[in-house]
């Protein structure tokens, strides 16, 4: 009698729904959850024949190895500072871009401008690295030819780390501002036009309309984008940093980030343990920042929080 009460409602439907979700469940188990278990490699000295579980435990040795080297500070600082720079500047540019786009009243013009400005986003970072190479190549590159034609002296860009934060920032904006502005532009299009008409009657200037109508209306979207970006502040854009710098060792002081470091530790040095340890470190700090930003936003405005 009791068993009957435990019966799952719509049993047949539930089985069918489960089978529909099954491929996704299996794929995530293999390619996401299994590697999560594999994080034990961070505490092991991995030996291929012994396998993941069988390899000897080494405690925190992999972490000590990373933190005692100068690299830990360098890659963490680069990741944080460059991402901070990217987040703030791209946000301002994308919002500004959207506000300007909102000023364009003709639909055809908007369409043309949008299409062209999105174009770079269709390129992979590999393709972008060809274009930056055409610009920055020391003897033939466009930039040095311009500098030399104006009587200046060419700069060997791929050997001078101090310029790279700015170079990467410009390339990042070039690549993403068009597509990044779309979400803000769409939000602006959703603003009730009566607000602007009322402002016109009151004689508000353009800037006042932006300050008191446009910006407040897109603040919720800005916040949610910002949490998502800050939550990922310890994760760098590997493709950008690896391809566009052409992985030049001389540029590491300013361009080596956690992700490129993890990659090199694994592929160039074959140091599975340390690579895992750095990934775990990254995952943990990433998780903490995401939790903090999310709870801050939840306090300010629960509607905008991520979860």
């Amino acid at each position: 009698m009791k068993r009957k009460k435990l019966k799952i409602p719509h049993l047949k439907d539930n089985i069918q729904l489960f089978t529909l979700a099954l491929p996704a469940i299996v794929l995530l188990a293999v390619f996401s959850y299994w590697p999560m278990y594999g994080i034990i490699l961070a505490f092991k000295n991995y030996k291929v024949p012994l396998g993941m579980w069988g390899s000897p435990w080494v405690g925190l040795k992999n972490f000590l190895f990373f933190f005692q080297a100068q690299d830990a500070w360098r890659v963490t600082r680069n990741t944080l500072l460059l991402n901070f720079l990217f987040i703030t500047v791209t946000l301002v540019c994308a919002v500004g871009f959207a506000l300007l786009m909102f000023e364009v009243k003709s639909r055809t013009h908007v369409k043309v401008y949008q299409t062209v400005s999105i174009l770079p986003n269709f390129l992979s970072w590999v393709a972008v690295s060809y274009m930056s190479y055409a610009l920055l190549e020391p003897t033939k590159g466009i930039l040095n030819r311009v500098i030399e034609s104006m009587g200046g002296e060419g700069i060997s860009w791929y050997a001078e780390p101090e310029y790279w934060p700015v170079i990467l920032l410009i390339i990042k904006i070039w690549h993403g501002v068009g597509i990044g502005s779309i979400v803000y532009y769409a939000a602006l299009m959703g603003v009730d036009s009566e607000l602007y008409e009322a402002a016109d009657i009151d004689g508000a200037t353009k800037l006042q309309k932006i300050r008191y109508i446009s910006l407040p209306c897109i603040v919720p979207i800005i916040t949610i984008r910002l949490i998502m970006a800050i939550g990922k502040i310890f994760r760098g854009d590997f493709g950008l940093f690896y391809n566009v710098t052409r992985d030049q060792g001389t540029l590491y002081p300013t361009t080596d980030i956690i992700d490129t470091y993890v990659y090199r530790a694994l592929m160039n040095q074959g140091n599975v343990g340390m690579s895992s340890a750095v990934s775990l470190f990254q995952s943990v700090v990433c998780f903490i920042t995401l939790m903090i930003t999310n709870s801050v936003v939840k306090k300010i405005n629960p509607e905008n929080s991520l979860f």
Partner: protein, 299 residues
């Protein structure tokens, strides 16, 4: 009246400046493309003497003739890229929307559990080394074309996006089908899926672009020259141009040894690789625009 006119004139003036801004920005977006085409059309000797320039002097087709004489490497890469894009996008869109459908059904008792199961991987990851060890030592996926498809098949944010869409469909449609004796499969394939074509198209296009542009997994796992996709070929071409050149040893007739292509061949390879896609994708811009605006859904 005069006040009104003044206002209007002021508005026009601003929008004129706005147009200038977008035209300039558009040029900044387009000039790199033109430069690449121009370099690919310039003779190697001229490049060595005068460097790169935005516009070509005398059009020279040596680099393209060289590619035409040695087509195998590019054609192979195209085949691989097309395969991983088509198969990957199809499977991904299908499996993602299947999972999304289950998540959208209130009667599915595992809904909450599954929601968390999908959400957790967006917060934590095992890292590169763990994935690498599992894919190479346990699954033996290195030098296997499926390593370029399987690992990224379930885009979790896409699942949530499609789920939200399914939830907005009227429940009565589903119930009517169920009344007629249809199973959940019937409801999914006959009702939910056809009704969500626009959102599925958006997801598919974004996914296809990502797959077409992917090189990371190839860089990690592919050593077999016959399995190299386009973007990885480009990456190799940038890093080790000589090793690629050594595979292309058919010389077109009438070429001086000094004119042997180098930089221009690199750029020609880029043009051949991204050209068709750059002509194709902008026509589907509305899908990308839509993808950006509905993409930010909660977990």
């Amino acid at each position: 009246m005069t006040v009104n006119k003044k206002h209007k004139r002021k508005a026009e003036k601003t929008s004129w400046l706005v147009h200038i801004f977008f035209i300039l920005f558009g040029l900044v977006c387009l000039i790199p493309f033109i430069t690449v085409i121009s370099i690919s059309l310039t003779n190697e000797i001229e490049l060595a003497n005068n460097g790169f320039s935005i516009f070509p002097g005398k059009a020279d087709l040596t680099a393209y003739r060289y590619l035409l004489e040695n087509p195998k490497i590019v054609i192979d890469a195209y085949k691989i890229t097309i395969f991983i894009t088509v198969v990957g996008t199809f499977l991904s869109t299908l499996l993602v929307s299947m999972a999304a459908y289950s998540l959208s059904r209130k009667r599915f008792i595992l809904r909450k559990v599954l929601n968390w199961y999908l959400f957790i991987p967006t917060l934590f990851g095992g890292g590169l080394a763990a994935s690498y060890v599992i894919n190479t030592q346990y699954l033996h996926l290195n030098d296997n074309i499926w390593v370029l498809i399987l690992p990224g098949l379930i885009g979790v944010f896409n699942v949530f996006m499609i789920r939200t869409f399914f939830q907005q469909l009227p429940e009565s449609l589903f119930e009517a089908t169920k009344m007629d004796g249809g199973s959940e499969y019937t409801v999914y394939f006959r009702i939910a899926m056809p009704l969500s074509k626009p959102v599925l198209a958006t997801v598919a296009f974004l996914d296809a672009l990502e797959r077409w542009n992917s090189w990371y997994n190839a860089m990690l796992y592919i050593r077999n020259k016959e399995l190299v996709p386009l973007q990885y070929l480009l990456q190799k071409m940038m890093r080790e141009v000589s090793s690629i050149l050594s595979e292309m040893d058919n010389m077109p007739s009438g070429i001086d040894i000094k004119e042997l292509p180098g930089e221009n061949l690199r750029m020609a390879m880029l043009v051949v690789s991204i050209g068709p896609m750059m002509c194709f994708f902008p026509f589907f811009q509305k899908y990308f625009v839509k993808g950006m605006t509905v993409g930010s859904v909660k977990g």
